[in-house]
């Protein structure tokens, strides 16, 4: 059983998820991370890693049950899922590609939130934060699958927020602008310039800035804030 607060974060092998796992593990949380592969966080104190394919229903169920068994409770869930792949205009987006985005973003969020919200319901407390993207507000050409799937996560989060409102569980959305991660930088300078041009504050943000927002949403004192979406670097 964990004596500190327990936070589950998905997608901790790299990028935003990895940065958040490091941040919260060094800020007194017991962090349970997951990815399809081994941990990339070494022997970081307070961090526990599970190999989970979050698009697999049974794996997610077994994982959530195992976390509950081992740690006794789950105080916060940060659902950070995605598919690092360039999108394409609707006319040339294949069905396979569209479905891959929906599956890797929406279906995984649904599966993870379903299992952990049920556990949180039994303990009458929980903080769920789903990560989306400001692309849900920009309607940028070339993002029909990515932006639609992320927008669906916003709607899903709001529905869940209402369903579990009386169980002491809050559900909110952090909607990042361009974040400085290896994955986003790998898309190249032109892509980065195009992204920044669409933002109100035209600079990339650090994962630490996102952690600050997640920290607010996951605080016990934030129990009156649910179903909200917080964008970074964007006036919409």
């Amino acid at each position: 059983m964990s004596t500190s607060n327990v936070m589950v974060i998905t997608g901790t092998s790299r990028g935003i998820g990895r940065g958040m796992a490091e941040f919260f593990a060094t800020h007194g949380w017991t962090v349970i991370g997951c990815s399809r592969g081994e941990s990339t966080l070494g022997d970081l104190s307070g961090y526990h890693h599970s190999r989970v394919d979050v698009s697999d229903e049974k794996q997610v169920r077994d994982w959530a049950r195992g976390v509950k068994r081992e740690h006794g409770r789950v105080d916060a869930l940060v659902c950070n899922v995605g598919l690092v792949e360039r999108g394409a205009l609707t006319g040339v987006t294949t069905l396979e590609s569209f479905q891959a985005f929906v599956n890797s973003i929406l279906t995984t969020t649904f599966l993870v939130c379903r299992e952990y919200s049920k556990l949180m319901g039994l303990q009458r407390y929980g903080r769920i934060v789903n990560l989306t993207s400001i692309m849900t507000e920009l309607h940028a050409p070339g993002t029909p699958a990515y932006a639609s799937a992320k927008a669906a996560v916003v709607e899903f989060t709001k529905v869940l927020a209402r369903e579990v409102a009386n169980q002491g569980i809050t559900c909110n959305v952090v909607s990042p602008s361009l974040v400085s991660t290896e994955a986003s930088m790998a898309f190249g300078d032109q892509w980065k310039a195009n992204m920044l041009a669409m933002q109100t504050l035209q600079r990339p943000i650090d994962v630490a800035e996102l952690c600050n927002i997640v920290q607010f949403f996951t605080a016990p004192q934030s129990g009156c804030v649910t179903g909200q979406v917080l964008h970074t670097c964007l006036v919409n």
């Binding site: 049920k118 319901g121 039994l122």
Partner: protein
């Protein structure tokens, strides 16, 4: 192997525990005819979700097996049923625990 009466007792323990902790609002004596889901049920939708999550945990502890309650399996077992009674759910849970 769990019997129907074992499962009925487990369901009652769950209901009583959830009531004590305020997770469900009304007490529900579990019997063959008690309506757990559907019109006339004293459990609301979220109460039912909480109930089956708790029953799953109790079944896991009791059997040592990872069992999952799947609503579509219940629908397949009782096609067209407008309600889920205590007896129907108990029979399902017995078969689930034995599988």
């Amino acid at each position: 192997m769990l019997s129907k009466s074992d499962v009925m007792a487990l369901m009652q323990e769950s209901i009583d525990s959830l009531k004590r902790s305020g997770l469900i609002e009304t007490a529900l004596p579990v019997s063959d005819g008690a309506v757990l889901l559907g019109q006339e049920s004293s459990l609301d939708s979220m109460g039912f979700v909480t109930f089956i999550t708790d029953v799953e945990e109790r079944l896991n502890r009791k059997t040592g097996k990872d069992v999952y309650i799947v609503l579509t399996d219940l629908q397949d077992k009782y096609p067209g049923a407008a309600q889920l009674s205590g007896a129907m759910f108990a029979e399902y849970l017995v078969s689930l625990a034995a599988s």
